[in-house]
Symmetry: C2
């Protein structure tokens, strides 16, 4: 197949993920990544177009992992229970993969097709669960935005150290989800 074997995109991506999760997304540079792979940075360009392209790949990879984790988490569940599960899966992902999570947030261009698709898959998953809760159409679409805002906001703030007080994070998150789900009826009423 290959006239010469070297780093391939998978190994590059995996090294980038490790770097991102251990050092933070900003420390993932063409230089640091090349060093981790024991090659020189120009060699990376044989595999990926540049740093923005790498970050885009990281973001896609992150969204795929998020989607997979959510699917796993809500398997066999329905309705509010399922929503609670996918929400927890999201923050769990952000904790396990802080750098990769950051990458999903700070993608270079949110309109990039493959990235968008990965995001849409998450939306579709949540949409399916909301359907079980009796939400369809525009109401459901608004509700997905709500769910995404909740989980993304909480995970981001937690990650950035925004929650300073000595108060169990787990409880804060569960209560937030509970409050939202308790009030989810407004999506039917007000539309």
């Amino acid at each position: 197949m290959s006239p010469r074997i070297g780093a391939d995109l998978a190994s590059i991506l995996s090294a980038a993920v490790e770097l991102a999760d251990s050092q933070g997304l900003d420390e993932v540079t063409m230089a640091s990544l090349a060093a981790k792979l024991n090659i020189r940075s120009p060699s990376l360009y044989n595999h990926i177009a540049g740093l923005p392209a790498l970050r885009n790949r990281l973001a896609i990879h992150g969204l795929e992992e998020i989607c997979a984790g959510m699917e796993r988490a809500c398997a066999g569940q329905r309705g509010k229970e399922a929503i609670r599960s996918v929400a927890r899966a999201y923050v769990a992902f952000a904790r396990e993969h802080p750098g990769l999570h950051e990458a999903t947030i700070r993608a270079p261009d949110p309109r990039e097709p493959e990235l968008r698709q990965a995001g849409e898959r998450v939306v579709e998953l949540v949409l399916r669960l909301l359907d079980d809760c009796g939400l369809t159409g525009a109401a459901a679409l608004h509700a997905v935005r709500g769910v995404r805002s909740l989980i993304h906001g909480f995970a981001s703030l937690e990650q950035k150290g925004g929650f300073a007080l000595a108060l169990p994070l787990e409880d804060s998150f569960d209560l937030l989800i509970d409050a939202f789900l308790a009030g989810i009826g407004v999506y039917e009423l007000k539309l």
Copy 2:
């Protein structure tokens, strides 16, 4: 007073805000900022320690503006109405000052004292409003985390172009706040 008049911290900050809001936070560099002020980048170090310090200042400034906007928005209001108002004020700020808002999220060190204080002032404001809703103690603290997650999550996603669908953003946000407020009772019940 001053042996020689040049750029002062206020003018530097204001130039940085303009740059951030018009070009994005990443385009605020010591180089671009100096160019905007018609000086050379090393001269900036007479006024600020470096790029991280500048970003920290921007973040503090942003939080102060957010707090001021919230105070203004909820003046004379109480309870849920007031919470709705401060939430709207937050997203309004993020729309008017996308770069400054980004700065508040991506501060170099969330533990920096002055930054923390600015953040705490926002927390205290919301805490005061929640008190009107009958929430105190740990319940109120959890609820503030909830409110912050909501507004920060929504504003971030909106700013990053995360809401692709053609669905009015205003409605999505109002519904989200409504749902949360409708379910806010769980903070009393479950604690």
